[in-house]
């Protein structure tokens, strides 16, 4: 059965987004600093149709994020468009050719028809919970993994339910001082993790954990 993996960047104080998230500031105030390790990389630029860029110790982690999965699950806030029933004009942050190139399952309370965009990305809107989304994503991913895109709230739900098999955190040297904390609200019996890899790269440390219980 394909594994569910979370790749996520957090600040040193544990936030995966800064305070005051909004349509204008999808990652909250200061949150755009979180991904400064990723954006200059050749692997990232190529996936967005741009040339040039850096190759460094972060490259395998970027490649894993960008091309490692056969399906993605994300929360409503990560897809964007504000809360409440859907405004049909909102098709996500990523333009006509999103960088996923596989089915993406968006957890939401509000039904919506699937949204097929260019390059193999179709967004499916799942209203019957995290387990249903995982089941659908696994079916879509075949023998590849399922990526948990975020944000923090969705990641917490999968973690607390013991459904996340692997977590790869990128810890960046910033203190956001507020926002959405990834490892929070984990309930009374947090999962057991084992550290399997740690790599220092320019401006970021990558740590890979697998769930052992």
């Amino acid at each position: 059965m394909s594994k569910l993996k979370l790749n996520i960047t957090i600040s040193l104080d544990g936030y995966s987004a800064g305070p005051d998230q909004s349509t204008q500031h999808p990652l909250g105030i200061g949150g755009e600093q979180l991904h400064q390790w990723l954006l200059p990389l050749k692997a990232f630029r190529e996936s967005h149709g741009e040339e040039g860029g850096e190759v460094n110790a972060s490259t395998p982690f970027a490649e894993d994020i960008l091309a490692g999965a056969g399906a993605t699950i994300m929360g409503r806030n990560m897809f964007g468009g504000g809360p409440g029933p859907w405004d049909g004009a909102w098709n996500g942050w990523w333009g006509d050719d999103p960088p996923f190139h596989h089915p993406v399952f968006v957890l939401t309370h509000h039904p919506r028809e699937p949204l097929e965009l260019d390059g193999g990305t179709t967004f499916y809107f799942v209203t019957d919970g995290i387990e249903s989304a995982l089941e659908q994503a696994r079916a879509a991913a075949g023998d590849r993994g399922v990526s948990l895109g975020g944000g923090a709230s969705v990641a917490q739900q999968y973690l607390a339910a013991g459904l996340l098999d692997e977590v790869v955190v990128a810890v960046v040297p910033i203190l956001l001082g507020g926002g959405a904390r990834l490892f929070d609200n984990l309930g009374g019996a947090p999962p057991r993790l084992e550290q399997v890899e740690a790599v220092g790269a320019p401006g970021v440390t990558h740590i890979r954990y697998v769930r052992t219980g």
Copy 2:
């Protein structure tokens, strides 16, 4: 001027102690797991008069903790003995020959005479604030560094005041789910940090940061 450095172990969810700290559980419930990377090391065992032990990628970080400083600053809770005026019978957690072997400045609201123990460790009780403690510790450390021992509250105060020059975190693969968070209550303008080193070791990742603003 000698630098003020914090070496501290945190769980993946950012806690430097578990919930419900007490005299019986000085590191809170589950907090004793935090230092499992340190205790089996030869460097640690030797500093406590024991033989044998492991040598691995954590060894330089353990040596830095154990012998890197000329003075230490710690909070009242880390010295222990419960809150309020001093019970003269409490001489810390470490027995007659504490592993510091240099002057230790304990931040407290309650005055107490200096406590000289074996092996070069004298505890001084500082009642006039973090800046006074740092000044006294620097004078005592000479050309060596000053170590900030913790706990979280004291570390936050030095961080928020911009007085901490270097932070070395040991991130261990446990989720405590509650307790004292190191990087919290940092005020409106958290310090700027630069990552200068990251090392994966068995069951822990060490990351060194220096303050740049």
